[in-house]
Symmetry: C7
Subunit: 254 residues, 7 copies
């Protein structure tokens, strides 16, 4: 059995699957969770800070990094793979700037990262990248944009999405239920939604999260622990309230 995947280049199985790509997606699921939420004029990206050793400098294992002036990237999956992919993206961005004397658009970079990932699924002598990326930035029209790439090399844009971890599907469903169908979100609501979604998988509250606020023409802001704790507290209060209300209403109806 082992023999079948351990020497493989990425090829089709009889029913049209690319197993190496699917196994790489498993590697992403083994990574920590990333949540991205697009507000009306900014973006919130949050990550689960899982298994950070007490003495480790959290800055060097950050899962949210700057790729170019206007492009913030969060990843789920193999850190070493992600760093290589990020370096390739940074190089491409710089090279684009030199050639075109302009910053590459967010979509251009999403497309570049996805194409790079796809290449590693079709040629022999390589394995796919064990990484999914969440890209946040602003379009040429100044609107906030949120892109995702996966190990297959697909990219797509989202209002809000979650990648990485065993529960990314649940988190995406949670986002779907709670993202307003009309009118979008203001910054506070986006932050709250992002944290609420992360709390689905993160046990110990604000301690194990990192939240970045990406606003136009402003350096990316990493939320302080205090601010995160405040939002968490508010969320918990509201949950308690809702429970009481529900208990009360159930009493009322009984």
């Amino acid at each position: 059995m082992a023999a079948s995947y351990d020497r493989a280049i990425t090829v089709f199985s009889p029913d049209g699957h690319l197993f190496q790509v699917e196994y790489a997606i498993e590697a992403v699921k083994r990574g920590s969770s990333v949540v991205g939420v697009r507000a009306a004029d900014m973006l919130v990206v949050g990550v689960e800070r899982r298994a950070t050793a007490k003495l480790q400098d959290p800055r060097t294992i950050r899962k949210i990094v700057k790729v170019d002036a206007h492009l913030t990237l969060a990843f789920a999956g193999l850190t070493a793979d992600a760093r290589v992919l990020i370096d390739k993206a940074r190089l491409e961005a710089q090279s684009y700037r030199l050639t075109c004397e302009d910053a590459p658009s967010l979509e251009y970079m999403a497309r570049f990262i996805a194409r790079t990932q796809q290449k590693y699924t079709q040629r022999g002598g390589m394995r796919p990248f064990g990484v999914s990326c969440m890209l946040a930035g602003f379009g040429t029209d100044g609107q906030p944009q949120l892109y995702q790439t996966d190990p297959a090399g697909t990219h797509s844009a989202w209002k809000a999405n979650a990648i990485g971890g065993k529960s990314s599907k649940n988190m995406r469903e949670f986002l779907e239920k709670n993202y307003p169908t009309e009118g979008g979100l203001d910054e506070a609501a986006a932050v709250k939604l992002c944290i609420k979604t992360l709390l689905e998988v993160v046990d110990s509250g604000a301690k194990n999260m990192e939240i970045c606020l990406i606003r136009r023409d402003t350096p990316v802001e990493t939320m302080s622990d205090t601010d995160m704790a405040a939002v968490v507290a508010q969320i918990e209060a509201e949950a308690e309230e809702a429970k009481k209300a529900s208990a009360g209403s159930s009493m009322e109806t009984s």
Copy 2:
């Protein structure tokens, strides 16, 4: 068993099959459906919008894209593979324009895409593209043309055709029964035939479809939901009518 396909380059089986190509065709069948219909002076291309997540920006996962000024491409199969193939096609089209100071003909581009796909079935160290393409545009004589390519690298021209999905064969048969043997179709009839064919696989009507109208010297028009809904309604009304008529006629004959 697993050992036999998981490490393979694409080679012949004893009865002359190329399994990697056939497995790639399975990947196309796992994709969503695409329908193309050639009218007298325009083309209609419709795709099934399957499994679009609620918060996903539908624009970035479009299965109908512009390859060159006069060439619209819809694909079925692996999105990441398709994007790479489309990028190759776009590059070839631009390079052709630079070299020949003219746009490449639709047939030239169909031939290029097919040749690229074939190459990935004959050389080692690669897997085939898990993609079939539907190409719509106008010939050098100004007539509408509809081409198809498949993972084997074959290309062919059609009056109307369906690719992708488990039911593409049924859809093709449906098109054969309903495409007029003489005289062709006007735009309205082509749109109706395209939508009717898609309704064979799409349950929830206009919501899960995307229809593009490709007219000469005009930007490609994506049909509005309202317009699609109207056509769907009309189709349903006619079906009801036909049922009644059939019931009536069966009563009459009894």
Copy 3:
């Protein structure tokens, strides 16, 4: 078992067989039939039009194509492979014209196509072409010539021959029985022989055939359906006649 062919480069089996080549010949047998007949001063090439979908443009899946001004090629086997081989042949012909300021001879081109096919049977990292070719044209002496190539990369010249399909051997034997041992054929007789041979495998008569007439210094003529139908009718009439005659003579002798 599967393991033995699915990863193979083309190598010898213990009894001196090249299995990948033999499997590629199976792919040719899975293709449709091609018949070539050399008349005194022209050539007839006929192909079975198998499985053409009703809405498919027959021109784009033609199995008889022009390679160079004086070289018509019909193929049996994998269409995508054939197209790549034809493109290589076309490029070689053009390159020959540029270098030598003359058209390449038919034999030169047959040799080139065969050599290309052989190369894919001897080097690793490739599979053989799943294609046999029938080449029709005129020699440097102005005489009509008919060449064949196969997946092994052998080429040979024929008065008449059949390739492709499960019954190509039967068709060749039919040609051997009916080709005059002396004096050759005129155009009408060659057309009749070609169609008669194809009728051995084609059920529905002229509908599923395509016949090309290759004459010197004249564009290749594709026979009209009417003309084909007339020849088919004549063949059937003669067969009926022969049956009656045979019945009569058997009565006479009884």
Copy 4:
């Protein structure tokens, strides 16, 4: 079974693991231990001197080496692999100095070493480096920095960490318990913590250790055996004291 890892390039297993990388990490565990501790204005790096043959020149099997003027590297794992990786790092540092007319930052070098290690996990025809590295030096802001890389190609910064050996996890936990959460360490405390941690795995005290003191703008100092013995003695004395105290206190409380 053997077949599954013995010919492998590094690919994903069905549950998203990269076995070759995990096996390389086993090779690191088979190596001797390395401990790094960051003090307020300097760094202490200690290694276990395991299995040094009596007649071997300890200088040539040193596990603590200088990579560049400001970069000290200690490694755990395969010595031959480490030397190659170190040579690559030295070359990169020199090349950086030539190109940029400045020393590369510690982070730049950590990133370079990690990227090099990652490359060997993703391409075919190579195996990963069986090495983890501890990098000690000073940042562009003059602050002491401690980096770690592993066979996967991940790099991260630490206040204190342990790599190599079967007990690296225990040693890390020991460091976490004993590193002050506030205020940092002075040089003496850092040395003591480093030696104390190594004593968790090293039986025969100072004899089998090597301790380097990395101070700004000063050549790296290797601690003398006498100095090490003194610290070990002090540690043992304190342990004895603590035991007595504990016995006393337990007596008192009883």
Copy 5:
């Protein structure tokens, strides 16, 4: 079992065999027979015309071809392989003429062909040529020479030899018994010996043979069917005579 030869590069078996080479020799045995006989001042080369289809142009499947002005080559084994090898030899001969302004010697060309064949037995990613060659021509001293090469890449000179077919060993023994140990052969005797040897494997007499007469400074002559038939008749007459004589003598002795 199949697995052991089907993917192989040519390597040694435990008892020092090169199986791919031995299998290629089997491919030669599956080919038709070739006989070469050296007369005092000329050479006779005969081949079995096996399985020539009735409508096939015998010229294009000739197994006796001209490689250079003074070099005639007959081959046994895979036709497609032989043609490629012959093309390589022709190119080398032309290139030699250009460089050295002289024709290459027969031995030089035999050496070149053998070296080319050997190369395909030692490098990976290739299979051996499934071909043995018989080379006939004149040495620099004007004497007739007969060389043989085989799939291993060995070349050797002979007075007379047979290659190809299941009975090549028997034919060689026949030649050994009938080639005069002293004084050589004149042309008529050489032709007779060649045909007699071929008759050991060819059933239907002159019809299935092709005999070439290679004389100095004269174009190669292919024997006419009439001439061959005459020799066959003479041989049969002599055999009959011998039988009678033997019967007579046996009667006499009885």
Copy 6:
């Protein structure tokens, strides 16, 4: 079973071993023994002359060779591999001299040989060198130096060491017991220790040994058989003496 190592590139086993390297070390163990001893101002290198055929010229199978003016190398393992490695070292030394206009240091050359050996353990399509080397020479400070490399590509310096043969570990322990911990050795003592160590594995005394004396600024001297025999005699006399003494002392004590 055989399948697991016979096709391998060098990769990690699940517990972090590199089997090809360990198998290469077995090849070294199958070779003959080499002993090196560093005296105060010179070096002694001795090898076991095993299995020298009676008619073989011992010079051409010497296991002690000159690599550069100041570098003597003795090897254990595969002779053919060693010669290639030595040629690479010689080339590097010459190239260094040309580029740097100075002799390479002994450490530089040890590092070069080790790096070359490591490269063959990490890349595909190669096997490790089946060789360990003992390098003797003088450092830039004029002090004698003794280096060792192994198939893994590790290099290290020693006061005295033994490589090759089944008993190299025992010989190293013998050296450890007999090398003075203080003050070093003079030339006579070093020669005696070297020969004594070799006698642990060599049965027939001086006949099967080769001893080289490496002194500064002097050509390497190969000890004559007579001189070796004298030392052996002395060693045996001393052993006899010791035995007697021990017997005497045991008698005395009894």
Copy 7:
């Protein structure tokens, strides 16, 4: 089982063997025998003429060939491999002469041939040469020299040696017993020893041998059958004599 050697690159087995090299040595054992004997001022090289077909030109299958003006080479093993190796050696010799304006020394050429053979045992995608070589010539000091190379790529010098055939070990032992330990051999004695050794494996006496006499500044002389027969007769006479003498002496003693 077959799978283990049939696809192999040359790698180490667990006990340090290189199987492909050992299998190649088997191929040498399957070849015919070669004996070389060094006399005081000349050399004798003899080979077994095994299996020479009656009509084969013995010159073209000679196993003793001239590589350079002063270098005679005899080989055992695969003829095709040997020819390629010889061509490489000849090219090197010519190239050396062009570059250095001097003939390469015999040792240089032995080293070159051995290095070439080793290379084919260490790199992937190749198999070892199935050849051992005996090189005879004169050193720069004018003394006769005899070198041997084997498939592993080892070279060594000999007073006399035998390679090839199943009995090469016996022949070497025979040489050891009969080569004078003191004083060397004159030409007649060397010839006699060479033939006597070959007679150990060759049944039919002088007929199946080829003996070359290599003298300084003289073309190599191939011994005539008459001369060889004379030596064989003398050897047999002496053997008979010895038998009688032995019988006589045994009678005397009885």
